[in-house]
């Protein structure tokens, strides 16, 4: 964990930006707004946030599945945002994606062998005659058997399909994988199987993960570091233990206290100190002027009193409050 494998700088993905001949002004959704983060080689960076916070969009725009509207994504020194067409396609096997819904992300008319073999064929990773053998090798690596190669997706359960989705990503021989909620469509007892598989594969193949999820417990278990997003911005970024033990940002604090822990005694204790957030996430079409969280922040008054800063007009900078612990809140500037 020394060199950043992927360096994201000031990345923005605004949908509906005025374009074309007439440049009619449109309503712009700032799904991702000015996000910077590094993903180091061999680590798992967890990306958490509630629905609509832009975590999936960030993952997709890092992989250039959306062309970001601003910013850069350096992958081993190459800026992916500048790459286009063939040059980008040539690099694509190095960074792959695992999708959320294993029911929708596999083509129902393709056999498993073709689904997994396709990336190998497209990127010419193996001579054609060897593709079948490679597919079988990967199937076994993800805990399936080689007989499955000639079946169709509908013959598999959700957990097995997600294994196939993982196999397809691995087939391209990537070193960076963006996993977008890879387990949230699965049952609890199956989730653990997939998490364990992903961890084993990571140590076997020296993979780097960007693991997107809304379940903080899962992310804490699998990640080395975690980034918390809210309304298109990263609010806090640090190693997984400190984010739980010493969360700095008020949003992270209330998010953590909202997550139920499977332990009745602890829950009763926590209930007394629970910070119930009021209201809901503002629309990303019309985010607050200052800090994105200011409409729900329970510590806004504190900032006003101690720092004389009005959170609803002044946006905080994303700064390193402690070594390795970044946050965007006026309380720490």
């Amino acid at each position: 964990m020394t060199e950043p494998l992927v360096q994201v700088k000031n990345l923005s993905m605004h949908f509906g930006q005025a374009s074309g001949f007439l440049k009619r002004p449109q309503r712009v959704v700032k799904a991702v707004d000015n996000v910077s983060l590094d993903v180091f080689e061999g680590e798992t960076l967890g990306l958490v946030g509630e629905s609509g916070c832009g975590k999936s969009t960030l993952g997709r725009s890092i992989l250039q599945l959306y062309k970001p509207t601003a910013g850069t994504v350096q992958y081993r020194g190459t800026d992916l945002v500048q790459l286009e067409g063939k040059a980008l396609r040539k690099m694509r096997n190095r960074f792959q994606m695992i999708y959320q819904d294993p029911y929708a992300s596999l083509n129902p008319r393709m056999k498993i062998a073709d689904i997994i073999g396709e990336p190998m064929y497209i990127h010419q990773l193996h001579p054609r005659s060897e593709i079948r053998a490679e597919v079988e090798k990967i199937l076994e690596m993800v805990g399936l058997t080689r007989e499955f190669a000639d079946r169709y997706p509908h013959e598999f359960s959700g957990g097995q399909r997600q294994r196939i989705g993982i196999a397809r990503a691995l087939a391209a021989q990537p070193d960076f994988i963006v996993a977008d909620e890879p387990i949230s469509a699965l049952d609890v007892s199956i989730q653990a199987q997939i998490i364990n598989l992903m961890r084993n594969l990571q140590s076997q193949l020296k993979l780097t993960y960007l693991f997107i999820a809304h379940d903080l417990a899962v992310v804490r278990h699998i990640s080395d570091r975690m980034a918390v997003m809210y309304l298109g911005k990263v609010m806090e970024l640090t190693d997984s233990n400190s984010i739980y033990e010493n969360p700095l940002h008020p949003y992270t604090q209330s998010l953590l206290s909202a997550i139920p822990i499977p332990d009745p005694e602890k829950e009763r204790e926590r209930e007394a100190n629970r910070v119930l957030l009021e209201g809901e996430v503002p629309s990303p079409e019309n985010p607050p002027k200052g800090c994105a969280f200011c409409t729900r922040c329970p510590r806004k008054q504190e900032v006003l009193k101690s720092k004389q800063i009005d959170c609803s007009t002044q946006a905080p900078q994303f700064t390193e409050a402690k070594p390795g612990h970044w946050t965007a809140c006026h309380l720490y500037t």
């Binding site: 609890v188 989730q191 364990n196 417990a217 909202a258 139920p260 499977p262 119930l276």
Partner: protein, 323 residues
Amino acid sequence: MDEALLEVEDLHVHFPTPDGVVQAVNGISYSLGKQEILAIVGESGSGKSVGVLSLLRLIPTRDCEVQGSVHFEGRDLLQLSDAEMREMRGNRIAMVFQDPMTSLNPVLRIGDQIQESIIEHQGISEKVAKGRAIELLALVGIPEAEKRYRHYPHQFSGGMRQRIMIAAGLACEPSVLIADEPTTALDVTIQAQIIDLVKRLCREIGMSVIWITHDLGIVAGLADRVAVMYAGKIVEFAPVDQLFKTPQHPYSKGLLNSLPRLDTRSEKPLEAIEGLPPNLIHYPTSCPFLERCSYKTEQCQTPPEKQSISTTHEVWCHHAGKL
């Protein structure tokens, strides 16, 4: 818990299909006390939703065969006529469904949807019902209730819609509220708000709740007692503290161990439950958990009977108390 409000006895729900009979619910029995929150936990396909839908007879009888009895206020719900059942639904027993996006009627104002059941069941005038609906909206925490009363479902967010569903459920002050994964579609911060609301209402108006979920975390903070379901059967029934502290069934144990926890971090891999639940068409003659159980012995070829660990803790496993 002295007197049971609702008593379900040996409930079976079977769906005949061209491929065979799907045994979705396979003989479950439980009781619900006054002001009690009972959680039913299980994975998809474990029969937890079908089990409660059939209490209210919400599954068309042409599609399924329901056996057993459901005693509520001295009557067997499964024997009532359709008209009598209609009297019950929404009036004495109300239901909140999982998906707040699809369970409200998009072309009716939310106020009308809330007061519909009051007018239907209590025969009061629309004017009085309107006042009641506005009160309910305020009760579930919707700001500017008087103005919002006239809005349509699309003008509300997911969390707000779930509150409206709860308000509609509470409209006739039912004694039982059945909530089928009411927070699964919501974000955690909103989920915390809804759980807080239901607990508060339960205390304030003395209602009992059956809460169906797959999330053991929610159960820990909410329920008084828990039923764990697997393959259409209850495999363990216990007060919440006992279930989490001393789970007796290998499946409950497995579920608890397979959860990553927010408050601890270990480098060890999670203890996954290998394999898949059984096919409900070819229902196993053995213990339904046999295939995935790491404690299995010869004995397990026969389905286990109920074993009582204590007066309140029941488990359906041959090895109960010995694990």
